[in-house]
């Protein structure tokens, strides 16, 4: 088994991959063959593919995505990393939300469990509700029923407008690429 200090180093390298969007270290070196990912966004636990998809969809939705580590806590084979995004502008579609152009800050804690030089388990927990509230697509915390209905209807109209704008831009970009 790796030492606590070694495990912390691996955990920091995982975050370097999240920031750069380059998952080759995870795919080719770190992840154990039986690697398991637990995340609220997955109905069933995932594996290597789900982690790679996670990193890529983050960078697709937020091309400037960067997080800052605020705390690292380790015991035996486990490491927890608490982080906050420092740059996260919603410029691409993310989880079926068309780009809103808003700059959001997301906080979270991920847990990692290592076996030797491999990562065997990851538990992800991000304040996704805070993120989608900042995008303005989910009603803010503490709102009443009527206000929630009004918000949902207004958000509906906004989503349709954002989607239309996004489709037009995509269409133009595709046309521009044609020889």
């Amino acid at each position: 088994m790796g030492t606590v200090e070694e495990n912390k180093t691996y955990a920091l390298r995982i975050f370097e991959c999240f920031n750069s969007g380059d998952t080759s270290y995870l795919e080719n070196e770190l992840l154990a063959p039986d690697f398991t990912l637990y995340s609220p966004t997955l109905l069933e636990p995932g594996g290597t593919r789900e982690v790679v998809d996670f990193v890529h969809s983050l960078h697709h939705g937020f091309p400037d995505f960067q997080v800052e580590i605020e705390d690292v806590i380790a015991e035996d084979d486990k490491v927890a990393v608490r982080f906050r995004s420092t740059s996260q502008t919603h410029l691409g579609p993310y989880r079926a939300v068309p780009p809103t152009g808003r700059n959001v800050t997301m906080r979270g804690v991920h847990l990692f469990r290592f076996r030797g030089e491999n990562l065997v388990d990851t538990w992800m927990e991000i304040d996704a509700l805070g993120g989608v509230q900042q995008m303005g697509v989910v009603a803010p915390t503490g709102i009443g029923t009527l206000a929630r209905i009004r918000f949902t209807l207004a958000s509906l109209v906004r989503m349709a407008a954002l989607e239309a704008r996004h489709s037009i831009r995509e269409g133009r970009a595709a046309k521009a690429k044609q020889p």
Binding site: R82, A128, T145, E163
Partner: protein, 192 residues
């Protein structure tokens, strides 16, 4: 080093007493008076026990049968990390402006506690607040396309209006004030 094992016990007991039993006195017993509290969706930290009471009340008002289980707990120095999941969570009270739907939800969390002198000094609550809203049918589920999301939101607004109407009619019939809002509803059910 003294403390880490005791700190884990403090955190485990705190979560079980507050979230499973709705025991707000656990907050007085365990949390320092000027504790720093980082709540989900709030970008600024708050101070003291009141935000914690509000948080527990809100959750247990919406989901009075809430039961959670600690899946992992570990620590280093004065920090304790805890992974917990709900094992039972029925939406039978108002939650976030959503009248009771009777639906079953699920929540997962990874929280960090800073404990010193047997008291909690700082808490980073980090949980999936979006999940329950999806399970209650108020926020589109994962994997929908944008047109699917738009259709979902339209039917969600209609459903919310129907639920709200039913809820306020029911209250009027029982002779209570309609449209209480979450804070008042939480106070009503604050039995201890």
């Amino acid at each position: 080093v003294t403390g880490t094992e005791e700190n884990k016990q403090v955190v485990r007991r705190y979560l079980e007493r507050t979230l499973n039993d709705g025991d707000l006195s656990a907050i007085e017993d365990v949390v320092a008076e000027d504790a720093v509290v980082h709540l989900p969706t709030a970008l600024e930290a708050e101070r003291g026990r009141e935000p914690l009471k509000r948080f527990v009340r809100e959750l247990r008002t919406g989901f009075p049968d809430l039961r959670i289980a600690v899946e992992l707990i570990f620590g280093e120095r004065d920090r304790v990390v805890v992974r917990w999941v709900s094992t039972q969570m029925t939406h039978s009270g108002p939650y976030q402006g959503i009248p009771p739907t009777g639906r079953s939800a699920r929540i997962t969390a990874i929280d960090i506690f800073r404990v010193a002198d047997g008291k909690v000094q700082e808490i980073w609550f980090n949980l999936d607040g979006l999940g329950p809203l999806q399970h209650l049918g108020l926020v589109p589920p994962e994997g929908l396309s944008t047109p699917g999301r738009i259709r979902f939101m339209l039917s969600s607004a209609a459903r919310l209006a129907a639920l709200g109407t039913r809820d306020s009619l029911g209250r009027r019939r029982r002779g209570r004030t309609p449209e209480g809002g979450t804070a008042e509803a939480a106070r009503d059910s604050d039995g201890g």
